[in-house]
Symmetry: C2
């Protein structure tokens, strides 16, 4: 998606060898109209797949996932990080390691919101090492639902998180693919 | 907002004396089209206030705030819970206590996304004890921006969080106001 690549170049900040901050339009400040366009683009790539539910994980994925859900006309479920007092009973769950925050997080989804008859499209803001996406795939499998694939805003392919998942046959569509960020220079795939 | 009151009655779960779960359309699963309608309703109530930025806190507030920002044509900033590795430098911050999670959380906003010339509309999903809203008001004051007010989806007025803030002259608009949940029966104001 050309507009996204341009925004990454204009506003993205490369920190060290592998962290990309896009806080101005995605991860801290959101550009709502741009998020809608990205949501429609992801929805379009999975049109005709019979998607009945969009699944993401809090927090940065929520706005994009909501835009995808709006475009497809289906509900959006966001996995919660850590079990709150208001969530009880058996939950689908996975452990994910955040390289950005350097900690493991427990993510959960209540079974009533993912049913075996659902066709699920996973949506997330970043795909790097693939930890969050793998966790969400695990949760879809626990539910018995069918996985249509994953729609990602920015994939940092050099961190290879998509490789193993694609090798398993999971369709992953990324709106921008970064092949390298060497010396602070972003190279798209 | 009549549609919201009906959804709360149909789908809300009252737990104990003061917890209301609306996981089916707001806090775990999102109904994206409904969220858009609520966002437009909040935006309409603050039309003409010259709002330049919507402020919320992750995670449940993000979808509604994005819908408000889309309707007003302004960016949305979400305060982050806890400082991540990718956030550095001086930050506006506040401590908020979550009665639902029974823990204190540190929320932060990077100064570049809230400027003294901004007119800020705070948006959140719930107003109960007022902890999150007070924290966000503090952050707006640290930034020197003007506060237009707060747009809330569900206010549980019996927990009185809005009282002190309204007494300070802050305009709070809530789409549904719950006066009591005694014996599991939801009474609207």
């Amino acid at each position: 998606m050309q507009e996204l690549r341009e925004r990454i170049v204009a506003d993205g900040e490369v920190i060290g060898r592998d962290v990309l901050k896009v806080d101005s339009f995605l991860n801290h400040q959101i550009d709502p109209a741009f998020i809608q366009r990205m949501g429609r683009e992801i929805a379009g790539r999975f049109a005709g797949e019979g998607v009945t539910k969009v699944l993401t994980v809090e927090a940065s994925g929520i706005a994009v996932a909501a835009a995808v859900g709006l475009a497809l006309g289906v509900p959006v479920v966001f996995a919660k990080k850590k079990q709150a007092v208001t969530q009880q009973g058996d939950l689908y769950s996975a452990e994910i390691f955040s390289f950005t925050r350097r900690e493991s997080v427990h993510i959960t989804v209540a079974p009533k919101y993912l049913r075996p008859e659902d066709v699920v499209l996973i949506v997330d803001d970043f795909l790097a090492h693939g930890e969050a996406l793998s966790g969400l795939v695990k949760i879809v499998r626990q539910s018995g639902a069918k996985l249509a694939g994953a729609g990602i805003v920015i994939e940092k392919r050099f961190q290879r998180g998509g490789e193993a998942l694609r090798a398993e046959g999971i369709r992953i569509e990324s709106l921008a693919v970064i092949e390298s960020m060497k010396a602070g220079v972003i190279t798209f795939g």
